[in-house]
Symmetry: C2
Subunit: 361 residues, 2 copies
Amino acid sequence: MQTVRVALGPRSYPIHIGSGLLRRADLVVPALPRRRAAIVTNTTVARLHLEPLAAALAAAGVACVRIVVPDGEDHKDWATLDTVFDALLEHRCDRQTAIVALGGGVVGDLAGFAAATYQRGVPFVQVPTTLLAQVDSSVGGKTAINHARGKNMVGAFHQPLVVLADTDTLATLPDRELRAGLAEVIKHGAIRDAGLFAWLEANLEPLLGRDPEALAHVVKRSVEIKAEVVAADEREAGERALLNFGHTFGHAIEAGLGYGSWLHGEAVGAGMAMAADLSARLGLLDGASVDRLRRVLARAGLPVAGPRLDADRYVELMAIDKKARGGRTPFILLERLGAAVIRSDVAPEAVRATLDACTES
Amino acid sequence: MQTVRVALGPRSYPIHIGSGLLRRADLVVPALPRRRAAIVTNTTVARLHLEPLAAALAAAGVACVRIVVPDGEDHKDWATLDTVFDALLEHRCDRQTAIVALGGGVVGDLAGFAAATYQRGVPFVQVPTTLLAQVDSSVGGKTAINHARGKNMVGAFHQPLVVLADTDTLATLPDRELRAGLAEVIKHGAIRDAGLFAWLEANLEPLLGRDPEALAHVVKRSVEIKAEVVAADEREAGERALLNFGHTFGHAIEAGLGYGSWLHGEAVGAGMAMAADLSARLGLLDGASVDRLRRVLARAGLPVAGPRLDADRYVELMAIDKKARGGRTPFILLERLGAAVIRSDVAPEAVRATLDACTES
């Protein structure tokens, strides 16, 4: 087991990474105010991982309520959240009952927002079971639900007390989701760590083959990178925005196609290729680096072009994205592999040229 | 104009109290990150106060979106909140757009929760227009909506940047609401300030006659008391719970009758009489003090007994109240007028005796 500490002053917390952690209630119990928990998970993950976790917590004396929601991004909405509140109230969960998110990003966002707002905030524990959730949503405390008009439009910052990233859970992850998770790992290399990027170029096959050591390495390195960025900027006022590399285009893709059509990581994969193209058009990034990024995305089985939506629709969806400030859409761009910048003065013509060049024909 | 500062470190903010403040955009603008605001109010308050506020902000160069929701506690729910999110998104409000709550406690709670969660949190300004909102919800950053299973079950702590308590708005307040607001003022005296309590006994008639100086005095003194308590305990871990004096019984009354049947302040009035009775039964408070509290409540036109609900129903509703810890209902009790304590070991028989003695026959 390895541990990365996210340094956020009084809200600091550890992320434990390794094999067999689902059964390590001893890593969770000391963080809880009381031995009471409500595990929130979805139908798919419940079948695979709910009982081992619940049994371990129960054996440690933690009274557990189980709340199982339907699987899928289209359930990351108020209606599902309300069923979680309903169950918490029905079981008389109080302000000292920890909410434990067991699952991928959708469960983490939904359960995290429940924890942020149930009775104005209760303790929160994350047990991410997808690569995406382990490398991305386990750090930073972002929680949210979707709104009909936009993704993650309603949410809160709510840090967990502890995170268990059990790499064993990645063994049962569908291939498509593993690949989608790699998009965020590639992103971390692209924006911050040329060494990680080169490591991915050299080790993509063992990763896709689910070599446990390779997986543990990218989870740890990703978490370290994200933790550094988040520690410097908890509320996303500045540097943290760099983590949105690929996400402005990516969110537009997800919203334009309807949530759930492409996986988030797939949309971010295409979004990164598009943002790299835009970076090159603006003279920030050299063509060889654009090619390296596209190649590693393609080898990871990720799309390197967006779907063919109307360009006006892309522009409109990007403008409504929550990172927009005063109507001007900022873009996260690359200066080189390993270094990102934010630019709010991108000419609309350059964006249109990228949309022309980097969407499916 | 008088100003009370709520001391919460980086989240500190001023509450300005006085006449004509609705037009004092100069008190708001310096606190805003950008000159953009969305005013959230209800149909009743909109008719009385929306245009003066919006005109003053517009004159100061602030672009204003107006969002008007239906009046009433039964609209403090997800459905109404969602219409607020819809309007914010439709008008492309971004993370730098301040949400301004113009109205009473319901509008403040609802708009405040919108500000806490829209795009994971945006700037918030409060312009409370009822006595209750000025003396109570203007301090402490509590925001919430109701859930079918309980009042304020979903919410967040979100501090405003600045509060304008314009005492002129109290001139148009219905009598019943003025009296309901006085319940919280009486509460502040009862739990913390024997001097304020005695002042109320001596000055209740000018207050009910809406003497501007008397109103400004109780708003200022109430805000000072609540600000002291909240500054010592922002997240309601300890001392802040004392502000819930009368609220355990009060919330049960509101939930038992259905929200909106009694005003919150009316339920708290009866709840305080009940909590004082319980305090006396437990040997904490002398009978003369119970009588003084009941008398001032009655003179303020507030109920001093709860409605005739089944005792089991009261107990059940109190147990589900969010202040319950692990199934045990804590009560805020008085040791004397001006001093409150929290007790989690109250015998059920004593509670039943109070319910027998202090509900309408």
